[in-house]
Symmetry: C2
Subunit: 346 residues, 2 copies
């Protein structure tokens, strides 16, 4: 297999602010694997929070290059070699894993969801994320999203005025389903205090209220909470699930945290066995990575696959989201192509 990659810059439609900071540009690494004349795409959407940047991804890909071997179907051996060569670096590993699945689908002429045996009619709707800003600005953005058909709104929190934000959005979109995500910004006592008004305002669930390592705090908050508590930063990978049993109601699984499609399947099944709700999330990422998540989405309870929708300049086209409903493409593999291609064809 031949490996090529390109570091690209993509930009959010609006500056993307969460409790940890603001981003106005993202560097992503688009991977291309070529085998027997067939080319396939993968993507790494690295996050410094999880120890990766575009530069570490490039370094990892160079390390992986001689380990890919000649058989794209032998993902078990390939991913095993990558794991043995380098711990962590799961966004880099996900880029390879996604490209291997895209390649398998293209070689077999089948879309990913069919290779997985999944039901394209069972995709959920995705939430659309409203990043942090002044409450009025966030409410306005929620209203615009709702007007476009996105009835599931995910509200970033973790400011000094979280209640004002949720109140303003609740008033702006009274019919919308609201989910909130504190990105680890609250203390346990704040979380316990906030849950009352979050429930009163009809919020559906709360994501990562506490710092990632505070599992005991999550357990206390979850046991007192009228709303499901979903772990994100506390649930990076399969190994993290065991300690979360009983400490949270669900987990947010992301391809870039766990290392790709095979690893995400493992986490989904493990979370189910532990009785957890399953959310499938994403980073701010292009339609390449979003497509991979979309093909897995028939398996999950909640989808937050809006990464490409947040971009002003997504270079790719993949699944579509009419009225927020994840709608899979029937092209082989991930079913992704450069934006220009489908636009020109349309």
């Amino acid at each position: 297999m031949k490996l090529d990659y390109q570091v690209i810059e993509v930009h959010p439609k609006h500056p993307f602010t969460i409790s940890r900071g603001t981003s106005t540009v993202y560097r992503r690494v688009i991977v291309q694997l070529t085998h027997e004349g067939v080319s396939a795409l993968g993507e790494a959407a690295p996050s410094p929070y999880y120890g990766e940047t575009a530069d570490t991804v490039v370094a990892a890909l160079e390390l992986f290059r001689p380990l890919l071997g000649a058989d794209p179907f032998n993902r078990q051996a390939i991913m095993g070699r990558l794991g043995q060569a380098l711990g962590g670096n799961n966004a880099a590993k996900a880029a390879i894993n996604l490209a291997l699945w895209d390649l398998a689908g293209k070689l077999l002429g089948e879309p990913l969801y069919r290779l997985l045996g999944l039901d394209a009619a069972a995709t959920p709707r995705t939430s659309l994320t409203i990043a942090l800003d002044q409450p009025a600005a966030m409410a306005e953005r929620a209203q615009a999203a709702y007007a476009l058909g996105f009835s599931l709104i995910k509200v970033k929190l973790g400011t000094g005025h979280d209640r004002d934000i949720v109140t303003a959005i609740r008033e702006a979109v009274p019919q919308a389903t609201l989910r909130v995500d504190a990105n680890a910004a609250w203390t346990p006592s704040q979380a316990l205090h906030y849950l009352g008004w979050l429930a009163e305002l009809g919020v559906e669930l709360v994501e990562q209220p506490l710092p990632a390592a505070d599992i005991e705090g999550l357990r206390r908050v979850t046991s007192a909470s009228p709303l499901p508590i979903v772990a994100d930063e506390s649930a990076p990978n399969l190994a993290s699930l065991r300690q979360l049993k009983g400490a949270v109601s669900g987990v947010n699984i992301k391809l870039m945290k766990c290392g790709g499609i095979d690893a995400a399947l493992e986490m989904i099944h493990a979370a189910r066995a532990l009785g957890m709700l399953v959310m499938l999330g994403c980073m701010v990422e292009t339609s390449v990575a979003i497509a991979a998540g979309a093909h897995l989405s028939p398996l999950v309870d909640y989808a937050d696959l809006d990464g490409s929708l947040l971009l002003a300049d997504d270079p790719f086209q993949g699944p579509t989201f009419p009225k927020g409903r994840i709608t899979l493409v029937d092209d082989p593999g991930l079913g992704v192509q450069p934006s220009s291609v489908r636009s020109q064809a349309a």
Copy 2:
């Protein structure tokens, strides 16, 4: 999809005795699904212990017939419909599920292990089971198995003379790796007492020492045991795993207990997340069902896939077991054909 099936009788080479009784004949249901001119095989190996017979399988298949639909790739929707129509009956469901995978592999021209992304070079060796008999007869059979290259011997126990059995076999095959399976026959105090001499005799692991429902007993035995304790009857399906966390060292996953390949994958990943050792086992069954297990075997720690090896009259040919090593066939799907075909060709 067109569904056909046939109830067949197969016979063990030797009367097959475990702690619950003796069998000299097994009725199995061979399923054939045909789609676009391609035919695929599945098998139900029902066990009265788990509530199924060939007759209940036939009744279930007739109930499933109108629910199969037209798309063999949409296993999620198909298995969902079967599950909604009928609880339990997992051997019947496994027969359909195996045939769907066989069909997908044949339609795509790829063996199952490649569709799953697994490494054919990573298959383990299977154990060979020595059923209950007089200690001398069991020792003789173990010696014959070892002489054929089977260095992993699984010894059925649960008699009044278990120590005599293991001692005789240990003397007969001093180099073999011994695993023992009490099939739920011991009390906790017996188990705790036996573990000492089992360890002294170099036994590798103990399967299902206690009755299926005695999870707390398993927990006590496991915490005191120098050997890994593996649950079989206590671990029928995904839902059973949660309560077994910390109560056993591992689980024996079987296609016929859990309902097929997709369900087995879920259990394998869930067991891993719970930190459990994973054994892949079987019923006394033909090469159709054994082939399905063999394709999954690169994922597991221990394989006990000797069901077809125990038969005098396996009507099918699938994977082979040179010196006990599970060796996959590269034909599409399960890679199984009637015994006569390959024999005639050879």
